[in-house]
Symmetry: C2
Subunit: 426 residues, 2 copies
Amino acid sequence: MTKEDGGRRGRAGLDRRSLLGGAAGVGGTLLAAAGGARAEEAAIPAELPEWSRYLGPGVDDEPYGKPSKYEAHVIRRNVEWLTASTESSVNFTPLPWLNGIITPNGVFFERHHGGRAEIDPTKHRLLIHGLVEKPLVYTMEDIKRLPCEDRIWFLECAANGGMEWRGAQLNGCQYVRGMIGCAQWTGVRLKTLLERSGLKPNAKWVLAEGADASALTRSFPIEKALDDAFVAYAQNGEALRPGQGYPLRLILPGWEANMSVKWLRRIEVGDAPWYTRWETSKYTDLLPSGKAYKFTWVQEANSVITWPAPEHKVDGPGQYMIRGLAWSGRGRIVRVDLTFDGGKNWVTAPLQEPILPKALTRFYYPWRWDGSSVIIASRAIDETGYVQPTITQLRNARGRNSIYHNNAIITWLVNSSGEVENVQVA
Amino acid sequence: MTKEDGGRRGRAGLDRRSLLGGAAGVGGTLLAAAGGARAEEAAIPAELPEWSRYLGPGVDDEPYGKPSKYEAHVIRRNVEWLTASTESSVNFTPLPWLNGIITPNGVFFERHHGGRAEIDPTKHRLLIHGLVEKPLVYTMEDIKRLPCEDRIWFLECAANGGMEWRGAQLNGCQYVRGMIGCAQWTGVRLKTLLERSGLKPNAKWVLAEGADASALTRSFPIEKALDDAFVAYAQNGEALRPGQGYPLRLILPGWEANMSVKWLRRIEVGDAPWYTRWETSKYTDLLPSGKAYKFTWVQEANSVITWPAPEHKVDGPGQYMIRGLAWSGRGRIVRVDLTFDGGKNWVTAPLQEPILPKALTRFYYPWRWDGSSVIIASRAIDETGYVQPTITQLRNARGRNSIYHNNAIITWLVNSSGEVENVQVA
C-alpha cells in the first residue's frame, strides 16, 4: 500500500504552508489585476486558520447536534406587543436566513392557544367517535401499525401577514411572512382511520380536538377528511416536536394551519359544523359590511422575497442572488414573477425542483444591483391560474378590518444605501 | 360576532368532561365487543390528561426548538472500540427511529478525521487554483452571490456496513447502516466556480482540501467536477452544521462521502490524481490477491429495513408496517423487493414519492406477523438494472479483507419472542 505520506509527496514537494504562501503571492497579483468582481478582492491568508491547527471535538460530544454558534441569529422570534400572553401567541420562522423548501424543525413557527403541551406519548390516546359504526381509541403504537405515507406540505397560519391589513408595516421578512413552514410529514390518512370505524350515512362534518390546555377544536367537511387529510407523527424524519403537536397532529393540506389541530386527541364525526370559537369569533374574515365570510379555509397563492429583506443590508452595487418562496393551498406553483421597478415590469424566475402541490417552492434569481433605489417584489401564480393580488386589490374586496388571509404582494424598497424597507405600493 | 362560548354550545350542551366520560362508556362496550385488532383493546381515559389542564410553555422559551424529552433515545451514537480516538471516528444516524427521506440535521451522522472544526464564517476562505487561468479566493459572502441551486442527495460513508465484511454482526440497524443521511442542500455548482477561474487545457483532475486539523484531501476527475459536483452552504434550509463542514463543504453526489470534503478551503486543478493518504492507504478496497482497486467512488445500490430492526421488539402477532430505505449512487431506485423467508420468495414494496436520483428512497409495507420465527430482508434495484448483492456474492468477488463498500443485503431474524437479530444468510 501507499505510504502515509503519499499525499504530501503528491503535492510536488511543497509543504502545506509554503503552498498556501505561494498561492497567496500568485493570487494576490492576479487578483489585483482582475479587479471588479467580488471573489478577486479577497486576500489569501498566508497563515493556516486557527481551526486547522488543533483537533476539534470528537464524535461523542453532540449526540443531538446543534447549529454553529455563529448562526445564533437564526431563531424563532415573537412580538411582545402582539398578544396578551406568550401562551396564546406565535413565534415566527426566520425566513430571511433560510434556503431550500425544508424548514428545520428547530425554527418551524409555533402558534399555540394554551401553551406548548408536553405529552407523554405512552399515555396519549386518539378517540374516533360520533357518526361512526364503531368508535375506536388508538395508542400511538396502534397508529404506527397502520398504512403510512410521506408527504411534503407547508403549514401556514391564517394570520400570516395579518398585521399589515390596516397598514402596519413590520420591518422584517420574518414577521411579515414567517408564520409558515414546510416539512416532510409521515403518518396515516384520516380516511384510513375513518374507514376503520365506518362512517354512518349522515356523516357530513368532522371535528378535531387538541389535547392542549385550550382544547382547540375545528370543524371541516367530510370531503376533506376523505381526501388528503392526514394524521402525522413524524416531521422531517424524526418525531413531531412538542410545538408541532407531539406526538400526533392533524394536517389539512393547503388549509389554514389552525385547522391542522396539534396534540390531536379526538376526531368526532357529525352532520353539521360545530361553529367552535376558532371558526366564529376567530379565524373568520371580517368584511366592510360588518359581516364575515363563514368559512375561508384555503391559503391562496402567496410569495415572499427572503433575500434581500429588511433583515439584510445589500453590500454595495454588484451581483447578488434574489432568494424567495412561493406556495399555494390549491396545488402547485407554476410561475413566479419578479419586479425591480415597483410593479411596472415583470420577469419570470426559474423555480427549483421539486415543485410539489401544497408545498413551498423555492426560487433563486441572479440580480445585478446598480446602487440606485429600487422597489422589488414577487408574485406567485398557481396551477389554477390564480395570480397573487396586490394589497389594494385585497382591500377593495375585503376592506381593512380582517386579520386573516393576507396574501398580498410584498414590496421591499432597497434604498441607495443598501438598506431594505417594507413598503406597500399598488 | 359569535360569542366566545359558541364552540361549547355547539357541542349539544355537553361539557368537555361529560362528553369524554360518555364516550368512554360507549366506547368501552363497543370496543370490548369488537376485539382483535389493536385499536379496540385500548381503554378510553375518563379523565382529561394532565397536559390538558395547565398552560404549557409560551412561544418565547425555545428560540431554537428541540425534540420532546420522550425522544431522548433518538440520537447519534458512536462505538468506543471502533477507533483509537473520538476525533478520528464516526457516529451513526439513528435510522431505526426515523421516517421519510430527510435526515434531521441534529442526527445526521458525522465522520471526522481531526475532530469537528469550528469555523468563524467571516474568516473562512475558499481558494481555487492550480491549472486555471485565474486563481480566485472567495469569502462566504462572495459564494452566496453566485448562482445557486437546491438538491436532495444522500451522503454515505464508504465504510457503512464495513464492520460486517469479516463476519462481525453488530446488533443494531443504527450501526449496520447508520453512516448515511439525506438532506436538501443549497449551494453552487463546482462547475460555476471552475468556469469563473477558467480551466487550462491540461486540467484533468481536481483536489479538494478541508480546513480541519486533518487537512483531508481527495482527488477526483474533472468530469465529475463539471457534472454534478456541488459546493454547499446550507442543509435542510439552515446553514450547514459544524459537523457537516460549516460553513462550506464539497458534495460529490452518489460517491463515497469521504470525498465530499467538509470545511472546504481549497480546490486545486491538476493533470493527475494526487494519491493522498485518503485514497491510497484508506478508502481503497483490498482484494484477496493483496492488491486493491485503485478508485471505487460510487456507492452502489443498497437498502435496509429500519423497522423491525434489532433496536425494536415486535410486540406480538398482528399487523405492522415494515419501514425501510433504499438508495443508489448511480441514480434513482426503481424497485425494492422484500422477503419474509430468508430470500426464497420476494414481493415488491411500493415506494414513497419523491423518488429522486442519488437520494434516499423510502418504502413502507404492511406486514402481518403470525408469531413464528422469520428472516426478513430488502434488496434494492436501481435505474441501471443493478441488483443489490448478497454478502456471499460480495465475498466471492472481493474476499473478506475490505472495510469499504459493503452494500450486501441485510437480513434480520425476527424470532418467536419478537426479538430481532442481525444474521447473515446466503
